[in-house]
Symmetry: C2
Subunit: 330 residues, 2 copies
């Protein structure tokens, strides 16, 4: 019966153990959409799709994104032709005018498909094509997601955090980079001066998301607090709703060692200690934490400790059981 | 050294024999773009692509469209998901407002990708994705086509008839249908009351096309005079340029029997006899004709007769040799 807040890697890994710890038909997963892009006209929602595919048993668990066994004929041919045309495969983030004209869904997250810097599988692309056309047809991302989850026989409720565009923009010494340009094309290497969530102030959490937070205890998986959970906290009413419900957070750190991803660098850039202590500071609404047994951080809120490394389904179950105990203890 | 005017089937079949009759490096092919569509945001140019793939040795010669050996993972998955979402796979021609907002390239030829009524192969899709993004980037369809032809090592010059949108709209008792809805989704079955080429009056032939017509003799292959060649004749200056150059046309009929496609029905709808005589009436600028040896139509212009059925490369060469003799005789 919990509601999970999820980015694209840490929490999806945790969700792998869901079915043996919680009733999936009573579980909601709210996915970050702050790193979504419009790529050559297709709305690509990496975190939402990782959750969707994980729950459908279709996720490529080698990469933790994309569809298991997918081909990439279109993408590979697009790269081959782009090479032949000598147009490169760097991200082509469109100019300011292009970012705000045309579709509302494109705002500040619009890339050209020339060179297609992100790897898009053939089956994966079908999801982006259908989703985009349904939204162009007037549907909300929320209802499109619910319909897609049904099509994949997914039993949990999967919800995007918002129907409005929010773009995670990374400020680097070399200039602004959309999160996907920073992470996918530049492999998270540039120094980070700051992070902003463009569109976040005008974006709203959906009624479905606020209901799922208010009426159920919330588990924040070992996601990146800045670019996975941060965009959600920008949404009007989101943090207030968390303050009013029971929240348990799994630290993505062991003290100051991060399990994976760009969390440490991003946290330092936004003024938090890159550590479990920093996560606790970033989550003032959290009522309890799940920390690794090797993490002796002294927090001002209840803590359950377990081995929080997650490589297998059993690992995921163990961390979920600890999260459940933490919820029960609050 | 000739310039060919080409639709999507008859003339591409003829082009198969090109290399042994004319010097391909001195040949230009002008392709119809009147049946192009914007499908889910991708600009799809069926006739142009058939010519491009034929010349690249990549055409599927079973269907005479699409790429040889292509897969359709994205398309098939899009259809599967559309079935699961119960959204159907009928053509979804967007409303009048959507037809004229946004990209100029979309005008009156914009379809949703929900259900994706046209079959788009994975490799083929890469061409549409790249072409569309290059045009969004400010390039002309003409230069994009030239670059794509280079990428495919094509030695002839392939040119779209225009950089401007022209939409072939079929008037049926059940209402207006874009040509692709009429032909692909409805298999050419509806009765046809009239045909119009929306956007044709404002569209221009490109300087490249007018040069290719004015400076070289023109061969019109056995294409459909209404929806393959008709859109070209709508373009400002196109028919005048044809009147000033040497033009040979291959009839797609044997007297009143058409080889294939919807030419007969369409010609009747626009007021021409569905026959070789009707083709001659539709092409007042033609200086000579190539007719089948079984076609005894009496025309007011010179005629070369041969077996005009084209199933093999040898057939194509024979008809091209006859076209060459016709050009030489003018």
């Amino acid at each position: 019966m919990p509601t999970f807040l999820s980015g694209g890697t840490g929490t999806p890994k945790l969700l792998r153990g869901l079915d043996s710890v919680f009733d999936p038909t009573e579980t909601t997963i709210v996915a970050n959409t702050g790193d979504d892009v419009e790529l050559g006209g297709l709305l690509v929602c990496p975190d939402l799709d990782t959750v969707l595919y994980e729950r459908a048993g279709e996720l490529d668990r080698g990469t933790w994104w994309g569809r298991d066994g997918d081909t990439a004929s279109t993408h590979d041919e697009l790269r081959r032709l782009s090479d032949r045309l000598d147009v490169g495969s760097e991200p082509r983030y469109l100019d300011d005018t292009a970012q705000v004209e045309g579709r509302e869904i494109a705002r500040w997250r619009r890339f050209s498909a020339i060179g297609e810097f992100m790897h898009i599988g053939d089956l994966d692309r079908a999801v982006h094509v259908l989703r985009t056309s349904l939204i162009d047809d007037g549907e909300r991302l929320t209802t499109v997601t619910i319909r897609l989850a049904d099509a994949f026989d997914v039993t949990v409720d999967v919800l995007p955090m918002s129907d409005d565009p929010v773009a995670s923009i990374i400020h680097t010494p070399a200039g602004l980079q959309h999160f996907q340009a920073f992470w996918v094309a530049n492999r998270g290497k540039p120094a980070v001066d700051a992070v902003d969530f463009r569109g976040g102030e005008e974006a709203s959490a959906t009624p479905e998301v606020l209901d799922a937070i208010r009426n159920r205890p919330v588990i924040i998986g070992p996601s990146n607090p800045v670019t996975s959970i941060g965009p959600m906290l920008e949404l009007d009413g989101f943090e207030d709703a968390l303050a009013e419900t029971t929240v348990v957070a799994v630290s993505p750190f062991i003290e100051d060692q991060v399990f994976s991803g760009p969390a440490a660098k991003l946290m330092a850039a936004v003024g938090y200690s890159p550590s479990t202590a920093g996560v606790a500071a970033a989550y003032p609404f959290a009522d309890a934490f799940v920390l690794d047994e090797a993490d002796s951080t002294d927090l001002d809120r209840p803590v359950i400790r377990t081995d929080t490394s997650i490589s297998t389904g059993e690992d995921a179950e163990r961390v979920l059981q600890a999260s459940k105990r933490a919820l029960e203890g609050v």
